[in-house]
């Protein structure tokens, strides 16, 4: 306690130097926290957006889907989709279960044919899925809902431009059925949509599930999408659903959203690498700011160190005194950096700043910072450790110091 108190007082003997070191730590670590906060926001936003627009929390497939390549579409689809979906509602955490079929083929306006990739969906449930986290483009399903029961299609905006079709025009969708035969259906364009990815919009179509089933000549679906009340429940529910499916003789494989969200994983990995690199640089800056402060203190207080040693302070205790100074420097810097980051993030989050679209994306995203307590604690701990370690290195000089030389130091 005495050494900690002495460390604290010694830290403020040279107020200007300590203030400079604290400023470096505050600004550096504060910026790191802001960067990590923005990354956390992107991580969290992308995660929830991915879940609540594409993957749901869990995806159920026919067991054999991942074991063997399908020779025809839906060869390994799910047969009892409606029955399974109804049964899954028994789990309190399950908010929504919906079916999807992924299909591909050719789309034609009569003059021009292009390849498409499409999703056969339940528009009401897709709309519901996209409103559970935030309104995440739910309006794109409105026209399909309005024209429920009709032979309709919604096209990616870029595909509609490519085919030069508009609302009310007819297109022909051609693909192979579950038996491998060719089949086609004429569908009326009732909407176009944007999805944020230009390349996807050039090929994407949405059609109602019943239309796809007629086109593919099957009652099967490709997968069931299960959305839960909280993302944190994903792994628990996965295990419970696996057990339930096995007990009831459903040959199902359950995948989590993370396993199915390759884009999310890539983006998060990319940001983690950037943040890791920035963290390293900033911790090195903290290290040297602290080293500088302690080295200067050591030089200035050499005579005092001699005095302390001569009255019986052990060398280990003297090293500890400087170590405490380093730790305190890191701790105070961390607290100030946290306050700095909280203040700046409040300003930024309140300013509603939009960033330009990322490469390959068609829409921008908000500059927002998500402050997470665990991140603050981790960064503060790393700062204190870096600062403590940086003070320890110069302080070890005390162990080699001769008392008479120290006392004679001017």
């Amino acid at each position: 306690m005495t050494f900690l108190l002495m460390g604290f007082r010694n830290l403020f003997r040279q107020k200007r130097r300590t203030a400079t070191a604290l400023m470096v730590i505050t600004f550096g670590i504060g910026c790191l926290l802001l960067t990590m906060g923005h990354t956390a926001f992107i991580d969290w936003g992308l995660r929830e957006q991915t879940i609540h627009s594409e993957t749901g929390h869990l995806q159920l497939f026919n067991d054999r889907f991942f074991q063997k390549e399908e020779e025809t579409i839906l060869e390994f689809g799910i047969d009892d989709a409606e029955e399974i979906a109804a049964s899954l509602q028994q789990f309190l955490e399950v908010q929504l279960v919906q079916s999807r079929i992924s299909l591909m083929g050719l789309i034609s306006n009569g003059d021009k044919s292009v390849a498409f990739i499409g999703d056969a969906i339940e528009p009401e449930k897709e709309r519901q899925l996209r409103t559970m986290f935030a309104d995440n483009g739910s309006a794109r399903f409105d026209s399909l809902i309005v024209h429920r029961g009709e032979e309709v299609i919604s096209l990616g905006a870029a595909l509609a431009r490519s085919l030069n079709v508009q609302y009310g025009d007819w297109v022909t969708l051609m693909t192979s059925t579950v038996d491998g035969a060719l089949n086609a259906v004429d569908l009326r364009v009732v909407d176009t949509f944007r999805d944020g990815t230009v390349e996807y919009e050039k090929r994407a179509v949405n059609i109602p599930l019943p239309v796809a089933r007629r086109l593919l000549m099957t009652d099967r679906v490709g997968k069931l999408i299960v959305t839960l009340d909280k993302t944190e429940h994903t792994l628990v529910l996965r295990d419970r659903i696996i057990t339930w499916a096995a007990e009831n003789g459903y040959g199902l494989t359950v995948k989590t959203w993370k396993e199915q969200a390759a884009y999310y994983r890539q983006v998060v990995q990319f940001f983690r690498q950037i943040t890791g690199f920035i963290s390293l640089i900033l911790l090195i800056i903290v290290f040297f700011a602290s080293v500088n402060t302690i080295v200067m203190a050591l030089v200035e207080r050499t005579r005092e160190i001699g005095t302390l040693l001569s009255v019986g302070t052990s060398r280990a205790q003297t090293v500890m005194m400087f170590w405490c100074e380093g730790l305190l420097l890191g701790l105070i810097g961390s607290v100030l950096a946290t306050l700095f980051a909280l203040a700046v993030s409040a300003l930024v989050n309140g300013a509603d700043i939009m960033l330009p679209p990322a490469p390959g994306s068609s829409s921008g995203y908000p500059l927002s910072i998500r402050n997470e307590f665990a991140v603050f604690v981790r960064v503060a701990a790393a700062t204190v450790v870096a600062s403590g370690f940086s003070s320890l290195l110069p302080a070890l000089r005390v162990t080699r110091m001769k008392i008479v030389d120290a006392l004679g130091h001017i």
Binding site: R13, R303, G306, T307, L309, S310, G312, T313, K402
Partner: protein, 230 residues
Amino acid sequence: MKPTPLIRMQQVGKQYHLGKTVVTALSGIDISIEHRDFMVIAGTSGSGKTTLLNLLGLIDSPTSGTIFFNGESVGDDRHKQTRIRRDSIGYIFQTFNLVPVMNVYENVAYPLILKGVAGSARRELVERALSQVGLSDRRKHKPRELSGGQRQRVAIARAIVKDPGIVLADEPTANLDSSTGGEILDLMTLLNEELGTTFVFSSHDPMIIAKAKTTVRLHDGRIEQYEVAA
């Protein structure tokens, strides 16, 4: 039976290496410091007074000879030296050497903290030491708020608070005016007489030499005169 001297030096020498030159600071020193002694190590500048005091205080090591503390050879064991310094030696510096971030009370209490004396026992010892040096009313003051004489009194309190076997004082009056120096000397004489604290000074102050029970006069690193008052 003659009691064991507090400190005994046997054929102690000290050499410094300044580049390729070897400087002999002390040579063939034989000294015995008895309990309750009031010894002055006198001599001109460069005679080796401070070096001898540093060796007595175990803050420097001899290049030859042996130092015995309470009959036990000190040797080169740094931990042993630290323990003796912490428990049995008080040091008073010419330039006071108080810790500026501590107030008077904390400076005096510091050696007791090192010894592990805590709570009310520590408070009592500090109050007693402050009272002995007449600074009870300055306990909250920082060193920079005190005069030179007051600082040296704090240094004396710090040296005696742990009731050491011996207090070593390196020219304690050199940075004080003669009146204040006289007061400090009177205080140390009183502590020697009343508490039986052993004092060893390095000084060429005639006022201190006049009060000494034992005078060791050095010349060029050798004992020129060893005089014990009758």
